[in-house]
């Protein structure tokens, strides 16, 4: 079955996720969808699977118009999506999970024997006898759950199977079994659309590729005709904007934060690095590579299992609450602004002063005048556009909200700033103001750790960059020794880095 997309557009608020994508999938092909984080791959698959409608554009299946209003419609057309985050029923059995929505039944009564038989048929493709049809999914390992999720799409007898990073929680043998299965699906004339960051995986299974960048279609073609280098160039693009304030002349000072052997399996393995006063250290890596886990481990939100953390020469306990970390002078900017970064219904002033209200309170009583004054000062520094510091934060645009979140760290007067995606989902103007704030903090002698998916920003802002890959952190190297291509290679595990051996550990 041929599935054709024409001019698919989608925006979320101010962010353009897809900007007119044309694509065609043909029967019997494995089509890899490639692109950096945020390029729009997952959004595209969700639209095809009927999870939400596009803002514009058309789709057709074998020439018939296809406008799914729910996943139910997609199923009816034989299109099944295997989610990046698992979507299983933990309380139900493996068989029930695999067959949900198409249970073998007689007059409304489930036929348990037939259900077990059907489930076993599909499970057999994976050769994992320990996954029994009658086991409860809540009792299974993460890898086993992913197998169940894939089995569900196969049981649905889909003709187009969309796989969004299906190997993210699979290991060696299971990955090979999945690839063997994908090849069998292709032989049966199915279409498999496959999202992955790992180029070596893509080369093993896919026939054709499409690269998306910033919501736009960049290139499509047979995989055999391109090199990894060419693919990476497509993904990164050429535009390096001139958004970044000039670096100060001062050299970084003494070590502020020294981390040795920090472990939190399976998210983190033996992570070591140091950040100096006045330095901006960038952490690159794919989503789910452990970047966020690292920052959260440092800030006490995800207590590490082992390792050592030293702050200005003093050893800190590795397990601590965020409250203790704040008192020790760490500041944290969450990647999830809506979920845990800001209290959106509260006034701007409350959000800015929340981590250090002592400056505008006496004996527990808040002075609104002092709070407003101090919030205003922090807002001015980042040029937050608002009528008053007391308006609800949710009345601001996304960019201004993010600046409020950043301004909080300034008010807190943190000595070490842990920034997770400081400019995610933010317009260019706000980005520049956030960059200026970060640069000013460094000039004041603060240490900044900055996690980002946006490579130009890491290159424009950081003094050194380290790359996270599957829970391990590469040695940090001066930014001049990296290229966008070598960072991406380190993140997705392409050829070994061409660069000099690691600098001495800090």
């Amino acid at each position: 079955m041929a599935l054709r997309l024409r001019g698919i557009r989608k925006r979320f608020g101010a962010t353009v996720a897809l900007d007119g994508v044309d694509l065609e999938f043909v029967p019997g092909e494995v089509h890899a969808l490639i692109g950096e984080n945020g390029a729009g791959k997952s959004t595209l698959l969700a639209i095809v699977a009927g999870e939400f409608p596009p803002d514009g554009g058309e789709m057709d299946v074998e020439g018939r118009p296809y406008r799914p209003s729910s996943p139910r419609d997609a199923r009816a057309e034989g299109i099944a999506l295997i989610h990046q985050e698992l979507s299983l029923f933990p309380h139900l059995t493996v068989a029930e999970n695999i067959l949900m929505g198409r249970e073998p039944a007689r007059h409304g009564w489930v036929d348990p024997a037939a259900a077990k038989r059907r489930a076993l048929e599909v499970l057999r493709e994976f050769d994992r006898p320990e996954i029994r049809p009658e086991a409860r999914v809540a009792d299974l390992s993460l890898a086993a759950r992913q197998v169940v999720e894939i089995c569900r799409a196969i049981a649905a007898e889909a003709r187009v199977v969309l796989m969004d990073e299906p190997t993210s929680s699979l290991q060696g043998d299971d990955v090979q079994r999945l690839f063997a299965l994908i090849r069998r699906l292709r032989e049966r004339g199915l279409t498999v659309v496959y999202i992955s960051h790992f180029l070596e995986e893509v080369r093993q299974v896919a026939d054709r590729f499409t690269v998306l960048r910033d919501g736009a279609h960049v290139a499509t073609g047979p995989l055999a005709a391109v090199t990894d280098q060419e693919l990476i160039t497509h993904m990164v693009g050429r535009s390096i904007e001139n958004l970044f304030p000039p670096r100060g002349a001062g050299l970084p000072g003494e070590p502020a934060l020294v981390v040795a052997g920090l472990s939190n399996p399976p998210a983190l393995h033996d992570v070591s690095f140091e950040v100096r006063k006045g330095e901006v250290l960038g952490i690159a890596g794919l989503m789910g590579s452990g970047r966020t886990a690292l920052v959260r481990s440092l800030f006490g939100l995800f207590p590490p299992r082992g390792g050592a953390i030293r702050l200005s020469g003093r050893t800190l306990g590795t397990r601590a609450t965020p409250r203790a970390r704040l008192a020790q002078g760490l500041g944290y900017l969450s990647e999830d602004r809506k979920g845990e970064g800001l209290a959106l219904s509260l006034p701007i002033a409350d959000n800015i002063t929340l981590t250090r209200m002592s400056t505008c309170a006496r004996a527990g009583w808040l002075s609104l005048a002092a709070q407003g004054r101090q919030a205003r000062a922090a807002m001015d520094r980042l040029r937050v556009k608002a009528r008053t510091p007391f308006q609800p934060t949710k009345t601001l645009s996304g960019g201004n909200q993010q600046k409020v979140a950043v301004a909080r760290l300034g008010h807190q007067d943190a000595r070490v700033m842990l920034l997770d995606e400081p400019t995610r989902g933010v317009d260019v103007g706000s980005k520049v103001q956030i960059y200026e704030a970060i640069r000013a903090w460094a000039a004041e002698g603060r240490a900044v750790l900055m996690v980002s998916s946006y490579l130009p920003e890491l290159f424009g802002m950081c003094d050194r960059i380290a790359v996270m890959r599957r829970g391990r952190l590469s040695p940090a190297r001066p930014v001049g020794e990296w290229t966008p291509e070598s960072v991406l290679e380190a993140a997705i595990g392409g050829p070994a880095p061409l660069l000099a051996p690691a600098e001495p550990a800090g």
């Binding site: 996943p71 139910r72 949900m100 929505g101």
Partner: protein, 319 residues
């Protein structure tokens, strides 16, 4: 092998609680024979019928990840409707059907508010708590409705005639319905989809299940059970009282939760909920027999609800 064993122990939990309650009162009682006798069993069972019927409906809703706070008001409304029907000379089956049907209608309206207006179940049914109570007073003309004596009054009596029935017809009906719904939940496509809906609603949608339509069925069906509970309420009081059953929804929810239901959905059992209803009824009955004041019962039931759920959470964390 260990997994099934643990799950069996989990299922036994509510029974152990019931055994502890009964044993405690039997030991405290001056005359254990009469406390454990058939006579007292009849009293307790006939007192349990209303909460037990409500708990059957509520179990379906809770498994599906929902909640219904309008049960007490729905019981009052349907008891008044039944009484008005009998007063106006309807044949008893028609009056009973009317009560049950209005219960289903209340559930349907709840479901439409939840699925069409996108109001969370807590709020939608909180609104219905007021609406149904008001409607009961309106239909009853702001007073109790006294119908002529019919066989409806014998549905949930403590001492049924003929004697060989042992317990009231309403008790037998409740047992039969409980078995029926338990089997439906376990063995039908409809039942398994209720579990799926409560376990992961987004995934249920992604599996092509019409989740909104399913909710309409669940709340409407549960409403029929609340309507039947209203008929039993009218039967026990022998009148339709628009101010009756205030707060009954909390007893019903407590029964479901003591029986292993999780308010976050995906878990719950009819058998457990029935045992939960019995635990509360035996507690009330026992403390009455001991001559303890009402407030002691209230405190004890409150403590038991929290302990039962805490124990459940502890077990699932340990697992």
């Amino acid at each position: 092998m260990r997994e099934p064993l643990r799950r069996w122990l989990d299922r036994l939990g509510p029974f152990l609680g019931l055994a502890v309650v009964i044993a405690t009162f039997a030991l405290l009682s001056d005359s254990p024979e009469s406390y454990l006798g058939v006579r007292n069993l009849r009293i307790v069972l006939s007192q349990t019928v209303i909460v037990a019927l409500g708990a059957i409906g509520m179990t379906m809703i809770v498994i599906a990840g929902g909640i219904d706070l309008s049960v007490g008001s729905a019981i009052a409304l349907t008891s008044v409707i039944t009484a008005v029907g009998l007063r106006d000379g309807w044949p008893p089956p028609a009056a009973i059907l009317a009560g049950v049907a209005v219960g289903g209608l209340v559930g349907l309206v709840n479901a439409l508010a939840i699925t069409r207006l996108r109001v969370v179940p807590f709020i939608a049914t909180l609104g219905m708590l007021g609406v149904a109570r008001g409607a009961a007073k309106w239909v009853g003309g702001q007073q109790t409705v006294n119908p002529p004596a019919t066989w409806v009054n014998d549905l949930a009596v403590t001492f049924p005639s003929p004697e060989w029935l042992i317990v009231a017809p309403g008790v037998w009906l409740t047992v039969a319905l409980a078995v029926l719904v338990a089997v439906v939940l376990r063995g039908t496509v409809f039942g398994r989809r209720i579990f799926a809906l409560g376990s992961n609603e987004a995934a249920a949608r992604a599996c092509g299940i019409a989740t909104d339509r399913l909710k309409v069925w669940i709340y409407s069906l549960a409403g029929l059970f609340f309507g039947l509970a209203g008929v039993m309420q009218m039967s026990r009081l022998r009148q339709g009282d628009p101010t009756v059953a205030i707060g009954t929804e909390l007893d019903v929810i407590a029964a479901v939760v003591i029986g292993g239901g999780s308010l976050s959905g995906g878990e719950g059992s009819i058998l457990g909920a029935m045992v939960g209803a019995l635990i509360m009824a035996f507690l009330r009955n026992g403390s009455q027999q001991m001559g303890w004041p009402n407030y002691i019962q209230e405190i004890m039931i409150g403590v038991i609800i929290v302990l039962a759920v805490a124990l459940d959470r502890y077990r699932s964390r340990a697992a």
